[in-house]
Subunit: 357 residues, 4 copies
């Protein structure tokens, strides 16, 4: 079933879902299993232990919920808060908008802060909930050190798995809050999970066997590469992308350098060009999948996702493709200019692959 | 990563998750894709249309939710009811108990009817919600004809997929109720789906690409076999199993014939035997996965799941295994007796495989 | 592409190709690789070392040739013999007939011995070539101890891989013979392999990357189970099959007990029944693949292959299927009788799965 | 088992084995099957019919041999010639050298022509044998129109399959020659195949079930893209590569334009650089697999394979990688220059993907 076959690989550069390593695809290529037999709890135990490492927490309690990032958000909120509770939410892009919408629909009392993000915001006695969907396992993230109470991500982002697992990590303070939080929830209720953790069977309902083995393989690859090296690789690819954008004479949608993301770059196109046309042509002509601008930047930006299982030459292929599409739609780009700028940086900064030295 | 390798195939006879056809495993063996590119909506459109056939509805609206059966339940309840609404719930086994628990925790006003199930119950003006997790696509099920308002199943049951997709189908009356239902929900909110259905992009959040292609393959196989033939096959395997149980001199936990299930058989063991020991040995010695008795029948029954992608000889292999385990634990079974009874029935009733005649 | 879809698993009981373990299918689920990069020689080195263990040789030199068993035969002959050389060949079944045919067509001078096989035959100064296609890795086989000069097998037999790799092991004496053997050969020439062994690149032409990784996984599984346990399992399944045949009142085509094979059982059918009809119906009605009788026993016997990645309940499912087919074609079998006889033996002799104790 | 894990995809640009489409990997992800049951002959029939299309023959007879290109050569020679027969062989590169070596070792009487290749050579009454391993299914090739008697290719080249199938196509004249050719052969004997073709069972020995289904998928993709479009794509990628080489100031090892290959480009490096170091670094630092120079050009050239399942952005990623490696080893390349030259050409010449217009 391939409605839209094209020769060669699809170049997947949306900011999620991202490319799955062949090793993970292999690990998931399997029949179902009885999740009550000893093998699955034994596997789960290692996952719960190891997943904490990507949050940099030793004291947090992780939950692997069969859901998406949206569900992980809902789990974080409903387990820690009661209807009417006040939330101070920071508006910084489309997904914060969506999370705020969820917060309001779940009957919390939301104060939206449109001001700039800053470190000082987190000196407070309140519960500190962080949406790490696009950052955990790609950027420097330190749950314990930064005093975060609930952090969460989704399997289809930097972990490079299929969609379907929301990974939520709760501090002791968050767990305590869950004992009294009055938000109505069952599917997302951490206490159901905790009951089964205690029993050693781990699952209040059926998990995806395939995603469990996939997560095992994904974590193994991350630890083999080294989490710090993974983060450095994301920094390298992010910087290379930004240098290319600059070389094309285009603007990063993110205005301040300290806000740049190493997982996605939103590129502003000239006002006479429709960024959706860029995304459409990239896919139709070059088998390149770019991200659309969403909401108020629809038509004005396109996004290059550069997170997950990805390397330098994949990115350079994408950048070469973006150049051709820009030319296709009439933007006077100098072909090769972005690739040259990115390569100059990468040729200096890319380390040897450790296992091959 | 196989903690507990054993030679040969695992014989998976829990009542879910069930065996995945090789064709479906193949269809899911793929990289992620951009779900906003045209291919995924085109695929989704065919799925939403075709999935209605397994509910036998033409007027219902299906939702393919990245969740489990428990989540599908929650979706059915929170989209149609407001806190305090009265539910009449029928207590018929462990999973009805769990659903009732969910109903109570979601603050509905639940009347539990322990009396017998009967046809007359559904002559009423109330919304009619049916948990079809263990029956849809395996047993005769007719959403429209029976006036059902919400029916639901999970991917890992008769559809023979991995866990991770809750499939919910809502009547026009249920959809109307969802416009006014005051239960708090976001992740499970049908109205978010309907908004994207209208846009033709279908997904309020990221779906599992792999499960979409898997569902396509699963539906194709079901339609190739013929839904009526699938149901007849389940009836055949169910009856064969019950004949074996009888031949062993054991009792079906289900007491009345009209309640027999063609997807699972719970077998009562003599009081001097612990049914958990049967399940344990089956797995440890014969690579056979049977279901435990749950809750009040824990230790007293074991369950043979016979649903999903399964054929006669697989079942006979399982029955031969159960006989050996029964003997292992001291029950004086006549080896071969159950297989003989089941075979006598199957040898008479099994049709030729249509594609091979 | 499945011309002949049937519900449930195919029950594969031909004497090859046999069932592939899910672990091996996974290991082979991969893209091609540059076989001249360091990874492939590193992998090959472990394979050449470990494959010797299944021949029970320490001094032999193995060759992993991209061919079938027929090619492995040709490799054994053309590398050790010159046209006109005399071969004493033992005629013991269809495949010896085929090998003898090959020997004659390759211009050797073949003495066919139709007499009984016996131990004394191998006290001689001649080169001793053994076709182990259906025995190596399933039966007790000791290349060094028995003084064998060339032993060979194919990947699709007891190793439980896809077809495509002929595995040949040569003694020092055989290697020496290959230096002077005048038979014309290039593709099969061991000396081309030896040249690349010396270089450490191993391959005179392109190997199948997938089969190399598959062989790695297959060997890992065999060593995890323990080669002796693998052989014991084959003995157990062979004996169980023979007991079932006896219980059905049918004859084993192999007349003397010391000749019984633990990898395949050829069952003689009554003269009024066409064994091909049994094979045909098994496939058409029960999704069971049995082996045809070949050549002079065509129509008179059917074969049950019981080698490779297989366990007790798979075999019992097959035996139950054979019983039903026998009844289908009019043979007055008592349903359950063969399964009962086999189960009685297996219930006594099957060990616990070591990893699950 | 990944000895040398690196993040992101391997960029496979050796001239074979090449990248396998995900669709083909999926098709091969399966258990073994009984090749004597009706499904496999039915599949084989379609393959033998369809494979002729890639040779552009209607009268030829194809053989799908479980072997490599080297084996396909041997099949072509031994089936059509007798020892001592005269062969006029054209020496044009490393693989012709290897084939000539094979011809000599098979005891033919070989005249090696080192002169230039030209059209006039094929006006002759002799059998005309063509090694199309690196061209069939990638370049314009017309067996019937050009009067070719035996043409052959290997699965791991333009067909983009794993290694393991030699595909040989014989004209009526070649088949006739095979009736009298006295070269000794059994495994490669076409007459054994023809005997089974007549029986409708097709296989003289066990084929790889996985490669048969893989070939079916590969042919389906080629026909969906259109063979002419496949050839045009190879021409486009070949030209883009040559433009990049030129922009780098380097020389194509092939000296005359009419000899340029659209499947591989051998790049001559300056005499102070060791081309093996380029190949080594490409793999160690950028996960890029390039081809070594072989034999007399070892150390002097590296090769970029651009055949099989490949698209524009994959190639541009490779070219960007080559630029960085060239800089790594001290060659004063202008980063981005080759990509710019290739992009300028590709941006003009790449068609929309037909299924996506």
């Amino acid at each position: 079933m391939d409605y839209v076959y094209g020769p060669g690989r699809n170049h997947l550069f949306v900011p999620g879902p991202v490319n799955i390593p062949e090793q993970v695809i292999r690990a998931m290529n399997r029949n179902n299993e009885d999740y009550r037999a000893p093998a699955v709890p034994a596997l789960t135990k290692t996952l719960l232990e190891d997943v904490k490492k990507i949050f940099k927490t030793t004291s947090g309690t992780p939950f692997l919920i069969p859901t998406t990032g949206t569900g992980a958000w809902e789990s974080a909120l409903t387990n820690t808060l009661s209807p009417g509770d006040r939330i101070v939410s920071f508006l910084i892009g489309q997904f914060s908008l969506l999370w705020i919408d969820q917060q309001q629909r779940l009957n919390f009392n939301v104060d939206v802060v449109e001001s700039e993000w800053g470190q000082d915001h987190y000196q407070h006695p309140a519960l500190f909930l962080v949406d790490g969907v696009s950052s955990i396992c790609a950027l420097d993230f330190r749950m314990d050190e930064w005093g975060i109470d609930v952090a969460l991500t989704g399997s289809q982002k930097a972990l490079s798995l299929p969609t379907g697992m929301g990974i939520v990590c709760a501090s002791a303070k968050a767990l305590k809050a869950s004992k009294t939080a009055k938000s109505v929830r069952v599917f997302f209720d951490w206490n159901d999970y905790l009951k089964f953790y205690k029993l050693g069977t781990y699952w209040p309902y059926t998990p995806s066997i395939q995603l469990l083995y996939g997560l095992r393989a994904a974590l193994d690859l991350i630890f083999e590469e080294g989490l710090d090296n993974v983060i450095a690789r994301h920094a390298r690819l992010g910087q290379a992308t930004r240098l290319a954008v600059q070389a094309w004479g285009l603007k990063n949608c993110t205005q301040k350098e300290e806000w740049y993301s190493d997982t996605v770059t939103a590129v502003v196109v000239p006002s006479n060009i429709d960024s959706s046309e860029i995304v459409r042509r990239a896919w139709k002509r070059y088998n390149l999948s770019l991200g659309l601008g969403l909401n108020k930047v629809a038509g004005k930006v396109f996004r290059i996702g550069h997170l997950g299982h990805l390397n330098e030459l994949q990115l350079l292929g994408c950048l070469a493709g973006v150049e051709m599409v820009l030319k296709d739609v009439g933007y006077p780009v100098k072909l090769g200019s972005g690739v040259a700028a990115a390569s100059a940086y990468l040729q200096n900064s890319t380390p040897f692959i450790p296992s091959r030295i």
